[in-house]
Protein backbone atom coordinates (compact mmCIF):
# COMPACT_ATOMS: atom_id res chain seq x y z
CA UNK A 1 0.00 0.00 0.00
CA UNK A 2 2.77 2.33 0.91
CA UNK A 3 4.75 4.30 -1.62
CA UNK A 4 7.49 6.84 -1.37
CA UNK A 5 5.46 9.99 -1.59
CA UNK A 6 5.70 11.84 1.69
CA UNK A 7 2.39 13.35 2.73
CA UNK A 8 3.06 14.52 6.21
CA UNK A 9 6.35 15.54 7.71
CA UNK A 10 6.89 16.37 11.34
CA UNK A 11 10.23 17.93 12.08
CA UNK A 12 11.66 18.54 15.55
CA UNK A 13 8.26 19.15 17.01
CA UNK A 14 8.23 20.46 20.56
CA UNK A 15 5.07 21.10 22.51
CA UNK A 16 4.95 22.66 25.94
CA UNK A 17 2.18 23.72 28.29
CA UNK A 18 3.83 26.44 30.32
CA UNK A 19 6.90 24.59 31.56
CA UNK A 20 5.69 21.06 31.11
CA UNK A 21 7.08 19.47 27.98
CA UNK A 22 4.47 17.25 26.36
CA UNK A 23 6.28 16.37 23.16
CA UNK A 24 9.99 16.73 22.61
CA UNK A 25 11.88 16.59 19.34
CA UNK A 26 9.40 14.45 17.45
CA UNK A 27 10.35 13.54 13.89
CA UNK A 28 7.95 11.52 11.80
CA UNK A 29 7.44 11.12 8.07
CA UNK A 30 4.19 9.68 6.89
CA UNK A 31 3.89 8.36 3.37
CA UNK A 32 0.89 8.17 1.14
CA UNK A 33 -1.27 5.16 1.92
CA UNK A 34 0.56 4.37 5.09
CA UNK A 35 -1.14 3.41 8.34
CA UNK A 36 0.83 4.53 11.36
CA UNK A 37 -0.24 3.51 14.83
CA UNK A 38 1.00 5.52 17.77
CA UNK A 39 1.24 3.58 21.00
CA UNK A 40 2.37 4.51 24.46
CA UNK A 41 1.32 4.71 28.07
CA UNK A 42 -1.33 7.26 28.94
CA UNK A 43 -0.05 10.76 29.33
CA UNK A 44 2.81 10.22 26.92
CA UNK A 45 1.48 12.79 24.47
CA UNK A 46 -0.14 10.59 21.81
CA UNK A 47 -3.36 12.53 21.66
CA UNK A 48 -1.53 15.82 21.85
CA UNK A 49 0.51 14.77 18.83
CA UNK A 50 -2.65 14.29 16.78
CA UNK A 51 -4.07 17.57 18.04
CA UNK A 52 -0.89 19.34 16.99
CA UNK A 53 -1.11 17.84 13.50
CA UNK A 54 -4.66 19.10 13.17
CA UNK A 55 -3.74 22.51 14.53
CA UNK A 56 -5.91 22.26 17.61
CA UNK A 57 -2.76 22.96 19.59
CA UNK A 58 -0.01 25.40 18.77
CA UNK A 59 3.53 24.09 18.87
CA UNK A 60 6.57 25.74 20.39
CA UNK A 61 9.36 24.48 18.18
CA UNK A 62 9.79 22.66 14.91
CA UNK A 63 7.25 22.35 12.15
CA UNK A 64 4.60 20.19 10.59
CA UNK A 65 4.35 20.02 6.80
CA UNK A 66 1.57 18.70 4.61
CA UNK A 67 2.77 18.01 1.07
CA UNK A 68 5.76 20.21 1.79
CA UNK A 69 3.69 23.14 2.92
CA UNK A 70 4.05 24.30 6.50
CA UNK A 71 0.81 23.86 8.41
CA UNK A 72 1.81 24.30 12.03
CA UNK A 73 0.85 27.52 13.83
CA UNK A 74 -1.02 28.92 10.83
CA UNK A 75 -3.87 30.59 12.66
CA UNK A 76 -5.55 32.30 9.74
CA UNK A 77 -5.36 29.48 7.22
CA UNK A 78 -5.89 26.65 9.65
CA UNK A 79 -9.45 25.94 8.54
CA UNK A 80 -8.19 25.25 5.01
CA UNK A 81 -5.62 22.85 6.38
CA UNK A 82 -8.21 21.04 8.46
CA UNK A 83 -10.26 20.41 5.36
CA UNK A 84 -7.40 18.23 4.18
CA UNK A 85 -6.82 16.46 7.47
CA UNK A 86 -9.74 14.54 8.89
CA UNK A 87 -9.94 13.89 12.58
CA UNK A 88 -12.18 11.60 14.62
CA UNK A 89 -12.28 12.03 18.38
CA UNK A 90 -12.79 9.69 21.26
CA UNK A 91 -16.04 11.32 22.28
CA UNK A 92 -17.73 11.08 18.85
CA UNK A 93 -18.98 14.62 18.89
CA UNK A 94 -21.78 14.70 16.43
CA UNK A 95 -23.79 17.90 16.45
CA UNK A 96 -26.89 17.01 18.47
CA UNK A 97 -29.20 19.50 16.77
CA UNK A 98 -28.61 18.14 13.26
CA UNK A 99 -29.66 14.87 11.66
CA UNK A 100 -27.04 12.33 10.68
CA UNK A 101 -26.95 13.39 7.07
CA UNK A 102 -26.85 17.09 8.02
CA UNK A 103 -23.98 16.34 10.36
CA UNK A 104 -22.05 14.82 7.50
CA UNK A 105 -22.91 17.53 4.99
CA UNK A 106 -22.05 20.53 7.14
CA UNK A 107 -18.35 20.35 6.31
CA UNK A 108 -18.55 19.60 2.58
CA UNK A 109 -21.24 22.22 1.92
CA UNK A 110 -20.34 25.06 4.28
CA UNK A 111 -16.58 24.69 4.55
CA UNK A 112 -15.77 23.39 1.07
CA UNK A 113 -18.70 24.97 -0.74
CA UNK A 114 -19.55 21.80 -2.62
CA UNK A 115 -22.75 21.16 -4.49
CA UNK A 116 -25.44 19.91 -2.15
CA UNK A 117 -26.71 17.20 -4.43
CA UNK A 118 -23.30 15.66 -5.11
CA UNK A 119 -22.34 15.84 -1.48
CA UNK A 120 -25.61 14.22 -0.41
CA UNK A 121 -25.11 11.40 -2.86
CA UNK A 122 -21.64 10.80 -1.56
CA UNK A 123 -22.74 10.99 2.06
CA UNK A 124 -25.41 8.39 1.38
CA UNK A 125 -22.98 6.12 -0.35
CA UNK A 126 -20.60 6.32 2.58
CA UNK A 127 -23.41 5.77 5.06
CA UNK A 128 -24.45 2.70 3.16
CA UNK A 129 -20.93 1.38 3.37
CA UNK A 130 -20.89 1.61 7.13
CA UNK A 131 -24.39 0.12 7.22
CA UNK A 132 -26.22 3.19 8.48
CA UNK A 133 -28.14 4.45 5.47
CA UNK A 134 -31.46 3.84 7.21
CA UNK A 135 -30.38 6.24 9.97
CA UNK A 136 -29.78 9.14 7.64
CA UNK A 137 -32.61 11.22 9.03
CA UNK A 138 -32.22 10.20 12.65
CA UNK A 139 -30.72 12.41 15.29
CA UNK A 140 -27.47 11.48 17.04
CA UNK A 141 -29.28 10.77 20.33
CA UNK A 142 -31.15 7.92 18.63
CA UNK A 143 -27.92 6.10 17.78
CA UNK A 144 -25.71 3.82 19.82
CA UNK A 145 -22.14 4.80 20.60
CA UNK A 146 -20.70 2.56 17.89
CA UNK A 147 -23.12 3.92 15.31
CA UNK A 148 -22.29 7.50 16.27
CA UNK A 149 -18.61 6.79 15.93
CA UNK A 150 -19.14 5.31 12.48
CA UNK A 151 -21.05 8.44 11.50
CA UNK A 152 -18.19 10.55 12.85
CA UNK A 153 -15.81 8.61 10.59
CA UNK A 154 -18.07 9.18 7.60
CA UNK A 155 -18.27 12.86 8.48
CA UNK A 156 -14.50 13.11 8.36
CA UNK A 157 -14.24 10.98 5.20
CA UNK A 158 -16.75 13.04 3.29
CA UNK A 159 -14.29 15.93 3.32
CA UNK A 160 -11.89 13.84 1.15
CA UNK A 161 -9.05 14.27 3.60
CA UNK A 162 -5.53 13.39 2.56
CA UNK A 163 -4.75 12.10 6.02
CA UNK A 164 -7.12 10.77 8.66
CA UNK A 165 -6.32 11.06 12.35
CA UNK A 166 -8.05 8.75 14.82
CA UNK A 167 -7.75 9.65 18.47
CA UNK A 168 -8.62 6.62 20.62
CA UNK A 169 -11.91 6.40 18.87
CA UNK A 170 -12.97 3.15 20.50
CA UNK A 171 -11.95 4.05 24.04
CA UNK A 172 -15.38 5.35 25.05
CA UNK A 173 -17.34 2.50 23.49
CA UNK A 174 -18.86 -0.60 25.00
CA UNK A 175 -16.75 -3.64 24.16
CA UNK A 176 -19.25 -5.15 21.76
CA UNK A 177 -19.38 -1.93 19.75
CA UNK A 178 -15.65 -1.68 19.32
CA UNK A 179 -15.52 -4.26 16.58
CA UNK A 180 -17.93 -2.54 14.20
CA UNK A 181 -15.88 0.64 14.38
CA UNK A 182 -12.55 -1.10 13.96
CA UNK A 183 -13.89 -2.97 10.94
CA UNK A 184 -14.67 0.32 9.24
CA UNK A 185 -11.10 1.45 9.83
CA UNK A 186 -9.64 -1.82 8.56
CA UNK A 187 -11.59 -1.38 5.37
CA UNK A 188 -10.32 2.17 4.96
CA UNK A 189 -6.79 0.94 5.42
CA UNK A 190 -7.31 -1.71 2.76
CA UNK A 191 -8.43 0.95 0.33
CA UNK A 192 -5.19 2.78 0.79
CA UNK A 193 -6.19 5.61 3.10
CA UNK A 194 -3.39 7.38 4.91
CA UNK A 195 -4.07 7.14 8.59
CA UNK A 196 -2.51 7.99 11.91
CA UNK A 197 -4.13 6.06 14.71
CA UNK A 198 -3.86 6.32 18.46
CA UNK A 199 -5.34 3.28 20.11
CA UNK A 200 -5.21 0.96 23.07
CA UNK A 201 -6.41 -2.05 21.09
CA UNK A 202 -3.16 -3.95 20.66
CA UNK A 203 -4.50 -6.73 18.47
CA UNK A 204 -6.03 -4.16 16.22
CA UNK A 205 -2.85 -2.10 16.11
CA UNK A 206 -0.95 -5.16 15.05
CA UNK A 207 -3.43 -6.00 12.33
CA UNK A 208 -3.78 -2.58 10.77
CA UNK A 209 -0.41 -0.89 11.17
CA UNK A 210 2.30 -0.58 8.56
CA UNK A 211 4.43 1.03 11.21
CA UNK A 212 4.27 1.39 14.97
CA UNK A 213 5.56 4.43 16.75
CA UNK A 214 6.08 4.03 20.46
CA UNK A 215 6.03 7.20 22.51
CA UNK A 216 7.06 7.50 26.09
CA UNK A 217 7.86 10.49 28.25
CA UNK A 218 7.25 12.86 25.37
CA UNK A 219 9.76 11.23 23.02
CA UNK A 220 9.71 8.62 20.29
CA UNK A 221 11.35 5.59 21.87
CA UNK A 222 10.84 3.02 19.21
CA UNK A 223 9.73 2.92 15.62
CA UNK A 224 9.34 -0.37 13.79
CA UNK A 225 7.05 -2.74 11.94
CA UNK A 226 4.24 -4.22 13.99
CA UNK A 227 5.72 -7.68 13.85
CA UNK A 228 9.03 -6.51 15.18
CA UNK A 229 7.47 -4.29 17.79
CA UNK A 230 5.13 -6.88 19.25
CA UNK A 231 7.41 -9.90 19.01
CA UNK A 232 10.76 -8.39 19.51
CA UNK A 233 10.69 -4.93 21.04
CA UNK A 234 14.08 -3.30 21.05
CA UNK A 235 13.74 -1.24 24.20
CA UNK A 236 13.00 -2.41 27.68
CA UNK A 237 10.40 0.34 28.04
CA UNK A 238 8.42 -1.11 25.16
CA UNK A 239 8.72 -4.59 26.61
CA UNK A 240 7.40 -3.34 29.89
CA UNK A 241 4.53 -1.60 28.15
CA UNK A 242 3.54 -4.71 26.20
CA UNK A 243 3.71 -6.85 29.33
CA UNK A 244 0.86 -4.84 30.79
CA UNK A 245 -1.40 -6.46 28.24
CA UNK A 246 -0.40 -10.01 29.12
CA UNK A 247 -2.01 -11.66 32.07
CA UNK A 248 -0.83 -14.65 33.95
CA UNK A 249 -3.42 -17.30 34.61
CA UNK A 250 -4.17 -17.23 38.30
CA UNK A 251 -6.84 -19.88 38.63
CA UNK A 252 -6.58 -23.31 37.15
CA UNK A 253 -9.62 -25.43 36.79
CA UNK A 254 -7.75 -28.32 38.37
CA UNK A 255 -6.43 -26.36 41.33
CA UNK A 256 -9.01 -27.67 43.79
CA UNK A 257 -8.69 -31.31 43.03
Amino acid sequence: MKNDEKILEIKHLKKKYDDTVILNDININIYKGEVVVVLGPSGCGKSTLLRCINGLETIQEGGIYLNGEKISNQDKKMHFVRQKIGMVFQSYDLFPHLTIVENILLGPIKAQGRDKKDATQEAEKLLERVGLLDKRNSYPRQLSGGQKQRVAIVRALCMHPQVMLFDEITAALDPEMVREVLDVMLELAKEGGTMVIVTHEMQFARAIADRIIFLDQSRIIEESTPQEFFENPKTSRAKQFLNVFDFEVVKHSDSNK
Binding site: G55, F89, D93, F95, K110, A111
Partner: protein
Amino acid sequence: MQDLGIRVLFEGKNLIRLLGGLWVTLRISLLSAAISIVLGILLGMVMNRKNPITRAITRVYLEFIRIMPQLVLLFLVYFGLTKAFGINLTGETAAVIVFSIWGTAEMGDLVRGALQSIPKHQYESGKAIGLTQLQIYCYIIIPQTIRRLLPLAINLITRMIKTTSLIVLIGVVEMVKVGQQIIEANRLTVPSASLWVYAFIFFLYFIVCYPISRLSACLEKRWKN
Protein backbone atom coordinates in the same frame (compact mmCIF):
# COMPACT_ATOMS: atom_id res chain seq x y z
CA MET B 1 -81.11 36.93 48.29
CA GLN B 2 -77.54 38.06 48.14
CA ASP B 3 -76.37 40.14 45.25
CA LEU B 4 -74.04 38.27 42.93
CA GLY B 5 -70.68 40.03 43.04
CA ILE B 6 -69.89 38.98 39.50
CA ARG B 7 -72.30 41.68 38.35
CA VAL B 8 -69.68 44.26 39.28
CA LEU B 9 -67.41 43.12 36.51
CA PHE B 10 -69.90 44.00 33.83
CA GLU B 11 -71.10 47.27 35.26
CA GLY B 12 -70.25 50.44 33.43
CA LYS B 13 -66.78 50.35 31.93
CA ASN B 14 -65.35 48.01 34.53
CA LEU B 15 -64.51 45.20 32.13
CA ILE B 16 -62.87 47.54 29.65
CA ARG B 17 -60.93 49.18 32.45
CA LEU B 18 -59.66 45.86 33.72
CA LEU B 19 -58.56 44.86 30.24
CA GLY B 20 -56.96 48.28 29.92
CA GLY B 21 -55.06 47.50 33.12
CA LEU B 22 -53.99 44.20 31.64
CA TRP B 23 -52.69 46.06 28.63
CA VAL B 24 -50.57 48.30 30.86
CA THR B 25 -49.21 45.20 32.61
CA LEU B 26 -48.39 43.51 29.33
CA ARG B 27 -46.96 46.63 27.72
CA ILE B 28 -44.51 47.17 30.55
CA SER B 29 -43.52 43.54 30.95
CA LEU B 30 -43.16 42.73 27.27
CA LEU B 31 -41.20 45.89 26.55
CA SER B 32 -38.91 45.13 29.50
CA ALA B 33 -38.61 41.52 28.40
CA ALA B 34 -37.61 42.55 24.88
CA ILE B 35 -34.98 44.94 26.19
CA SER B 36 -33.74 42.36 28.70
CA ILE B 37 -33.38 39.66 26.11
CA VAL B 38 -31.32 41.81 23.75
CA LEU B 39 -29.13 43.26 26.48
CA GLY B 40 -29.01 39.94 28.32
CA ILE B 41 -27.56 38.15 25.29
CA LEU B 42 -24.83 40.77 25.06
CA LEU B 43 -24.23 40.59 28.81
CA GLY B 44 -24.04 36.81 28.71
CA MET B 45 -21.42 36.96 25.97
CA VAL B 46 -19.42 39.49 27.97
CA MET B 47 -19.71 37.34 31.09
CA ASN B 48 -18.22 34.45 29.19
CA ARG B 49 -15.05 36.33 28.39
CA LYS B 50 -12.00 35.39 30.35
CA ASN B 51 -11.05 38.98 31.09
CA PRO B 52 -10.97 39.28 34.91
CA ILE B 53 -12.12 42.91 34.92
CA THR B 54 -15.29 42.36 32.90
CA ARG B 55 -15.87 39.22 34.94
CA ALA B 56 -15.71 41.11 38.21
CA ILE B 57 -17.93 43.94 37.02
CA THR B 58 -20.63 41.68 35.59
CA ARG B 59 -20.45 39.48 38.68
CA VAL B 60 -21.05 42.42 41.00
CA TYR B 61 -23.89 43.67 38.80
CA LEU B 62 -25.54 40.27 38.76
CA GLU B 63 -25.25 39.69 42.50
CA PHE B 64 -26.40 43.19 43.33
CA ILE B 65 -29.53 42.94 41.22
CA ARG B 66 -30.30 39.44 42.40
CA ILE B 67 -30.01 40.28 46.08
CA MET B 68 -32.08 43.46 45.87
CA PRO B 69 -35.83 42.89 46.05
CA GLN B 70 -37.40 44.31 42.93
CA LEU B 71 -39.58 46.54 45.05
CA VAL B 72 -36.55 48.26 46.54
CA LEU B 73 -35.17 48.79 43.05
CA LEU B 74 -38.47 50.32 41.99
CA PHE B 75 -38.48 52.73 44.94
CA LEU B 76 -34.85 53.54 44.34
CA VAL B 77 -35.41 54.50 40.72
CA TYR B 78 -38.80 56.13 41.09
CA PHE B 79 -38.42 58.04 44.35
CA GLY B 80 -34.67 57.96 44.83
CA LEU B 81 -33.75 59.51 41.50
CA THR B 82 -36.26 62.29 41.97
CA LYS B 83 -35.10 63.15 45.46
CA ALA B 84 -31.39 62.92 44.74
CA PHE B 85 -31.08 64.30 41.24
CA GLY B 86 -34.45 65.83 40.54
CA ILE B 87 -35.02 63.48 37.63
CA ASN B 88 -38.72 63.03 37.23
CA LEU B 89 -39.66 59.76 35.67
CA THR B 90 -43.17 58.58 35.08
CA GLY B 91 -44.09 55.41 36.93
CA GLU B 92 -44.17 53.46 33.71
CA THR B 93 -40.73 54.56 32.60
CA ALA B 94 -39.30 53.77 36.02
CA ALA B 95 -40.92 50.35 35.86
CA VAL B 96 -39.50 49.59 32.42
CA ILE B 97 -36.04 50.69 33.56
CA VAL B 98 -36.13 48.57 36.68
CA PHE B 99 -37.49 45.48 35.01
CA SER B 100 -34.98 45.82 32.19
CA ILE B 101 -32.12 46.09 34.66
CA TRP B 102 -33.39 43.06 36.52
CA GLY B 103 -34.26 41.07 33.40
CA THR B 104 -30.90 41.80 31.79
CA ALA B 105 -29.13 40.37 34.81
CA GLU B 106 -31.28 37.24 34.83
CA MET B 107 -31.09 36.79 31.08
CA GLY B 108 -27.35 37.41 31.06
CA ASP B 109 -26.88 34.63 33.55
CA LEU B 110 -29.05 32.29 31.48
CA VAL B 111 -27.06 33.08 28.33
CA ARG B 112 -23.79 32.57 30.14
CA GLY B 113 -24.98 29.21 31.41
CA ALA B 114 -26.24 28.12 28.01
CA LEU B 115 -23.00 29.08 26.30
CA GLN B 116 -20.93 27.30 28.92
CA SER B 117 -23.01 24.18 28.67
CA ILE B 118 -21.90 23.66 25.06
CA PRO B 119 -19.03 21.18 25.40
CA LYS B 120 -15.60 22.17 24.15
CA HIS B 121 -15.69 19.19 21.79
CA GLN B 122 -18.42 20.81 19.78
CA TYR B 123 -16.06 23.65 18.90
CA GLU B 124 -13.28 21.19 18.13
CA SER B 125 -15.43 18.96 15.97
CA GLY B 126 -16.46 22.03 14.05
CA LYS B 127 -12.83 23.00 13.60
CA ALA B 128 -11.92 19.48 12.58
CA ILE B 129 -14.25 19.63 9.58
CA GLY B 130 -12.64 22.84 8.46
CA LEU B 131 -15.23 25.40 9.49
CA THR B 132 -14.15 28.94 10.28
CA GLN B 133 -14.80 30.42 13.71
CA LEU B 134 -17.80 32.34 12.38
CA GLN B 135 -19.27 29.24 10.75
CA ILE B 136 -18.82 27.27 13.94
CA TYR B 137 -20.86 29.89 15.80
CA CYS B 138 -23.54 30.17 13.11
CA TYR B 139 -24.14 26.50 12.42
CA ILE B 140 -23.16 24.73 15.62
CA ILE B 141 -22.97 26.88 18.73
CA ILE B 142 -25.78 29.41 18.31
CA PRO B 143 -28.46 26.91 17.22
CA GLN B 144 -27.67 24.75 20.23
CA THR B 145 -27.55 27.72 22.57
CA ILE B 146 -30.94 28.96 21.38
CA ARG B 147 -32.47 25.57 22.02
CA ARG B 148 -31.23 25.60 25.56
CA LEU B 149 -32.09 29.23 26.06
CA LEU B 150 -35.54 29.68 24.59
CA PRO B 151 -37.53 27.75 27.20
CA LEU B 152 -35.69 29.60 29.97
CA ALA B 153 -36.14 32.98 28.32
CA ILE B 154 -39.86 32.36 27.91
CA ASN B 155 -40.06 31.46 31.57
CA LEU B 156 -38.42 34.74 32.39
CA ILE B 157 -41.20 36.55 30.51
CA THR B 158 -43.90 34.94 32.64
CA ARG B 159 -41.98 35.81 35.77
CA MET B 160 -41.78 39.36 34.54
CA ILE B 161 -45.50 39.59 33.84
CA LYS B 162 -46.24 38.42 37.36
CA THR B 163 -43.71 40.68 39.02
CA THR B 164 -45.12 43.79 37.34
CA SER B 165 -47.96 43.68 39.88
CA LEU B 166 -45.48 45.43 42.16
CA ILE B 167 -45.64 48.64 40.17
CA VAL B 168 -48.94 49.51 41.85
CA LEU B 169 -46.71 50.71 44.64
CA ILE B 170 -45.12 53.42 42.52
CA GLY B 171 -48.52 54.56 41.37
CA VAL B 172 -48.86 52.93 37.97
CA VAL B 173 -52.46 52.02 37.35
CA GLU B 174 -52.19 48.50 36.00
CA MET B 175 -54.55 45.57 36.26
CA VAL B 176 -54.35 44.97 40.01
CA LYS B 177 -54.75 48.67 40.75
CA VAL B 178 -57.81 48.94 38.48
CA GLY B 179 -59.24 45.96 40.29
CA GLN B 180 -58.71 47.64 43.66
CA GLN B 181 -60.39 50.80 42.42
CA ILE B 182 -63.41 48.83 41.30
CA ILE B 183 -63.58 47.05 44.62
CA GLU B 184 -63.31 50.32 46.52
CA ALA B 185 -66.06 51.92 44.46
CA ASN B 186 -68.42 49.05 45.18
CA ARG B 187 -67.44 48.35 48.76
CA LEU B 188 -70.77 49.35 50.25
CA THR B 189 -73.13 48.16 47.55
CA VAL B 190 -71.49 44.86 46.64
CA PRO B 191 -69.34 43.58 49.53
CA SER B 192 -68.43 40.36 47.72
CA ALA B 193 -66.95 42.26 44.75
CA SER B 194 -63.37 41.75 45.91
CA LEU B 195 -63.64 38.00 45.52
CA TRP B 196 -64.95 38.26 41.99
CA VAL B 197 -62.62 40.98 40.86
CA TYR B 198 -59.51 39.26 42.17
CA ALA B 199 -60.69 35.96 40.73
CA PHE B 200 -61.09 37.65 37.38
CA ILE B 201 -57.62 39.18 37.65
CA PHE B 202 -56.25 35.74 38.45
CA PHE B 203 -58.04 34.43 35.39
CA LEU B 204 -56.55 37.15 33.19
CA TYR B 205 -53.03 36.45 34.47
CA PHE B 206 -53.67 32.80 33.89
CA ILE B 207 -54.80 33.11 30.29
CA VAL B 208 -51.78 35.27 29.51
CA CYS B 209 -49.14 33.26 31.34
CA TYR B 210 -50.39 29.72 30.82
CA PRO B 211 -49.91 29.59 27.02
CA ILE B 212 -46.46 31.10 27.44
CA SER B 213 -45.48 28.57 30.03
CA ARG B 214 -46.95 25.74 27.92
CA LEU B 215 -44.92 26.95 24.95
CA SER B 216 -41.78 26.85 27.04
CA ALA B 217 -42.54 23.32 28.27
CA CYS B 218 -43.29 22.16 24.72
CA LEU B 219 -40.07 23.56 23.31
CA GLU B 220 -38.10 22.05 26.13
CA LYS B 221 -39.61 18.65 25.46
CA ARG B 222 -39.12 18.84 21.71
CA TRP B 223 -35.48 19.87 21.96
CA LYS B 224 -34.49 17.63 24.80
CA ASN B 225 -31.64 15.34 23.98
